[in-house]
């Protein structure tokens, strides 16, 4: 860069025209300083760090395609008769919003493409935010100093679902109209103020004539502005914290190992934007999404079987489906002091989502409390090396997935030719025992993988080379690992349970006892990393080593 001059050194004169322009700008914005700070900033590299990037890029694609759509979309619920080029709906009475969505699809060149890009990018946005959060959870990236950024991420997840839902409803088609109808039903179940909220949201009775324009404002202004704000905070904190890195040789909590921003990392990340855009374009080209012309305009009377919300709302819809309205003679809707409490709607709509998000937001502090760990963590955990956390994560994931599957209970029944009621009964059972099974299985798998790591660290990797010994036995030769590969397998912390300690008054409080119990629950089952002494011991009888490992190998392969 030619821009190195500052106000104190006016002697610098750029030679080229471009240089003079750069220098002009630089003297006024101080770009040199920024470049000096960030131009070579180091970023660790790993494929799983891409999910956050996918989220960011799909949001950019959403802004681009969404802006295009606003030029043609009219969020009015005024009645009109369709006169566009899609003949099956000719002269059908519909809202202007639906009619203009059809026009975008059939009469605006590239309109259908932009609608499909927008919808696919929206699905990808929520998906990548979710997967990114799973990555952050399972690798422990939420630990100090990143707890607050984890919370910002959780808020972004909620906002992305809000953005999705408000946009989904805009075309005012039959499918999304039924979605709104369900939202209205859920809102009305809120005690005391539910009916008022419903009337205030819809401007009167459902469906009214204002809901689309109100959602439109939320969808194109309020929600994206909040998302943008949260993204800015999120990325600002990433810069402050510097990125986490996976464990490995040369990596520790005091450094950051990776590629410099310029040129390699910037090129990879920048190029990746185009790849994400290209993939979304391919999906938009070949996979139909939300064919609103098949559904028809919203009408409170018809509904199609097999209705499905967009994927990210599925888990809440599934929870609504799983809840029984009546058990035996007990009705979950009952009258209390002359007022109606609709628990069969209220409980499934609020409790599972409330549980998931409360646990999500609180988890960093819960783990911090249990481990009493106040150190900064910049090196990630491999999920297997934190078996209990990984198991908790999988339990939560299973909880979510059971509800998600329940949103498709009717399709599961028709596709697999089983009774709908049985599918629901099974899913109801899985709702409770699924997370428990997932916890146990995951924890055992993680511990087994840790044992496998120990085995490889101490005895080397399998070479696939079979040798016949003089007495006729066949063995497989194990090759010892080099120091770098071994360090990856042994260089992790394996915390032990922290017993309860008395406080300053010499009293072990009940809270401290609970913490100690949880600590035991977390770290009781553990596999310690292999130590140099163990490696020494394994190598000590090196003469028989190959035979030994061959025998171990035989047991392994059973």
């Amino acid at each position: 860069m030619s821009a190195t001059s500052t106000a104190n050194a006016p002697a610098f004169v750029a030679k080229t025209k471009g240089g003079r322009i750069t220098d002009f700008v630089d003297q006024r914005v101080g770009g040199s300083g920024i470049l000096r700070e960030f131009g070579r900033k180091v970023f660790p590299d790993h494929w799983s760090f891409m999910f956050g990037e996918v989220a960011l890029y799909s949001f950019v694609i959403l802004l681009l395609s969404g802006t295009f759509l606003t030029f043609f979309f009219d969020p009015s619920m005024a009645e009109t008769h369709y006169d566009g080029s899609y003949t099956p709906l000719k002269n059908v009475e519909m809202s202007v919003a639906y009619s203009s969505s059809l026009d975008i699809s059939f009469d605006v060149r590239g309109g259908l493409f932009m609608r499909q890009v927008h919808h696919w990018a929206a699905l990808l946005f929520v998906a990548s935010v979710s997967v990114h959060m799973l990555r952050v959870f399972f690798t422990g990236a939420f630990r100090k100093p990143r707890e607050l950024n984890w919370v910002v991420g959780g808020v972004l997840l909620i906002l992305s679902m809000a953005a999705g839902f408000t946009g989904y409803s805009l075309p005012d088609d039959l499918l999304s109209g039924n979605g709104l109808r369900i939202i209205d039903g859920v809102i009305k179940s809120i005690p005391v103020i539910g009916t008022y909220i419903s009337f205030f949201l819809f401007g009167g009775e459902f469906p009214g004539t204002v809901i689309i324009s109100r959602l439109y404002m939320l969808h194109i202004l309020l929600v994206p502005a909040l998302i943008l704000l949260m993204i800015v905070i999120h990325l600002f904190m990433v810069v402050v914290h510097k990125h986490t890195q996976y464990p490995g040789p040369g990596r520790n909590d005091g450094n950051v190992v990776g590629y410099p921003l310029g040129p390699v990392y910037a090129a990879k990340a920048g190029g990746f934007f185009f790849i994400v855009f290209g993939v979304v374009a391919l999906m938009a080209a070949f996979f139909t999404i939300n064919p609103i012309w098949n559904y028809g305009p919203y009408d409170p009377s018809p509904v199609s079987a097999g209705t499905q919300p967009d994927w990210y709302i599925g888990w809440v819809d599934g929870a609504l489906r799983l809840m029984p309205g009546v058990i035996g003679d007990f009705h979950f809707e009952y009258v209390i002091f002359g007022q109606v409490l609709t628990l069969n709607v209220l409980l499934p709509a609020l409790v599972p989502a409330g549980l998931v998000f409360t646990a999500l937001f609180m988890y960093p502090w819960i783990e911090r409390w249990i481990t009493k760990d106040d150190r900064e963590h910049h090196v990630l955990d491999r999920p297997r090396n934190a078996p209990t956390r990984t198991a908790i994560g999988m339990a939560g994931f299973t909880f979510y997935c059971v509800m998600w599957a329940a949103a498709s209970s009717d399709l599961i029944a028709t596709h697999f030719h089983v009774a709908l009621n049985d599918v629901t009964y099974w899913l109801r059972a899985l709702f409770f025992i699924g997370p428990v099974i997932a916890f146990i299985v995951t924890k055992r798998v993680a511990l087994a993988l840790q044992r496998k790591d120990r085995e490889i660290a101490l005895h080397g990797r399998e070479t696939g080379r079979i040798v016949r010994l003089p007495h006729g036995e066949f063995i497989e030769v194990h090759a010892p690992l080099d120091d770098y590969k071994r360090y990856k397998l042994v260089g992790f912390e394996s915390p032990v349970p922290l017993p309860a300690v008395p406080n300053e008054h010499g009293v072990v409080t009940r809270k401290e006892k609970r913490r100690a119990a949880l600590s035991r629950f977390f770290f009781e089952d553990r596999v310690a990393p292999a130590s140099p002494a163990e490696l020494e011991a394994a190598h000590g009888h090196h003469g028989q080593h190959e035979v030994e490992s061959a025998e171990a190998q035989k047991t392994l392969s059973h």
Binding site: V42, Y196, Y259, P263, V303, S304, P324, R451, Y484, D525
Partner: protein, 356 residues
């Protein structure tokens, strides 16, 4: 399972305990030595990679051309068909995909094959130094001191009070977002107008239904007479008033006390709005006499006055009392005797008002 961890299993049988008391750890060997890529050592390979990147960028240009041709050459005129739109959509998508993927994969390939791939290590710095903290505390103390807010509680308390109340107008101003609910949810268009009973008419064309049209096993989607003629709030009324009309063998109906004259010759009418969250209960299983809501699978049994037999709904579908007028058309003898649709806080109160 064999013991392949060099440790004796503890009581849980799966966890190795060996090494748990070892304090000694492996030394970090440092960043692994850099391995040269083919393009770093072989000029031919580097040249090849350079050409590959150029080809990828070139494919992006091709994609842009495909997009522009598809946009301008395909006409969405009045006689275009769905096939034309599909073709254009596919070509626009392929064009964009090539244009974007060409640039993206080209840059990434360039970065991976040709740009330096030395990993470098950078120190992390404390996010907050103790020095900064102390300086910040001093500054805040000075600021607080200069405002004098601690010494002048009157100012502090009045300010707090004012700030606490100031957002209230911002809430109040949203008061006109919607009308008060009152008892709007409790009434539908089925209420007789000036003594004239409303006929049951077909959804959507609004033609009246004769009792003789309704054969055993058949089902009709029904709207009230006059709904289609409404100029305002048509969907609002329809969202409350839609009804399913079915005819069963009269013996299979066992009307409860007070409902004996709500049906006609085995013809019964029930609200089509699910009592769960309001989807239309649109599926009628003729053999089992079940009504099924496709949204959340609440199932209602017609022979038990639409009692919930499965699913998340808790309350039976409201029944519409019907009869036949002098010309043989089906009419509603009154409005529903309870609010239809999803439950709400004031629902029971409204039901009591209707029946009192």
């Amino acid at each position: 399972m064999g013991n392949h961890s060099d440790g004796s299993p503890n009581h849980s049988g799966t966890v190795a305990t060996a090494g748990q008391n070892e304090v000694e750890k492996f030394q970090d060997p440092g960043i692994p030595p850099h391995r040269l890529r083919l393009a770093d050592t072989d000029p031919k390979a580097a040249k090849r990679a350079e050409r590959q990147v150029a080809v990828l960028f070139g494919s992006s240009v091709v994609g842009t051309v495909i997009f522009l041709v598809a946009y301008f050459a395909i006409d969405l005129g009045p006689d275009s068909t769905i096939a034309t739109i599909r073709l254009q959509n596919a070509l626009l998508g392929i064009g964009t995909a090539f244009a974007m993927l060409g640039i993206g994969t080209g840059i990434v390939h360039w970065a991976k094959a040709l740009m330096p791939d030395h990993e470098v290590s950078e120190e992390r710095h404390a996010i907050r130094t103790e020095d900064d903290r102390q300086a910040a505390v001093r500054i805040v103390d000075d600021i607080v001191e200069e405002t004098g807010i601690k010494r002048r509680p009157l100012i502090r308390n009045t300010l707090l009070g004012a700030v606490a109340l100031a957002p209230l107008p911002a809430l109040a101003i949203f008061g006109d977002l919607g009308p008060r609910p009152d008892d709007k949810l409790a009434h539908t268009m089925w209420a007789p107008q000036e003594g004239k009973l409303k006929r049951l008419t077909r959804d959507p064309d609004g033609t009246p239904i004769k009792a003789s049209d309704v054969t055993i096993g058949s089902a009709f989607h029904v709207i009230p007479e006059g709904l289609n003629e409404l100029h305002e709030g048509k969907l609002n009324e329809k969202a409350k008033a839609v009804v399913l009309l079915m005819r069963l063998n009269p013996e299979s109906l066992k009307p409860s006390a007070g409902r004996e004259d709500w049906s006609y010759n085995g013809i019964v009418a029930y609200s089509k709005i699910c009592t769960h969250v309001g989807c239309p209960v649109a599926l009628y299983e003729q053999q089992t006499h079940h009504l099924l809501c496709p949204c959340h699978q609440s199932t209602f049994d017609l022979t038990q006055e639409c009692k919930v037999i499965f699913g998340p709904a808790s309350r039976p579908l409201p029944q519409l009392p019907i009869a036949v007028d002098a010309e043989g058309y089906l009419v509603a003898t009154s409005d529903f005797k309870e609010p239809v649709g999803p439950s709400y806080w004031e629902r029971d109160e409204h039901e009591r008002n209707i029946n009192s």
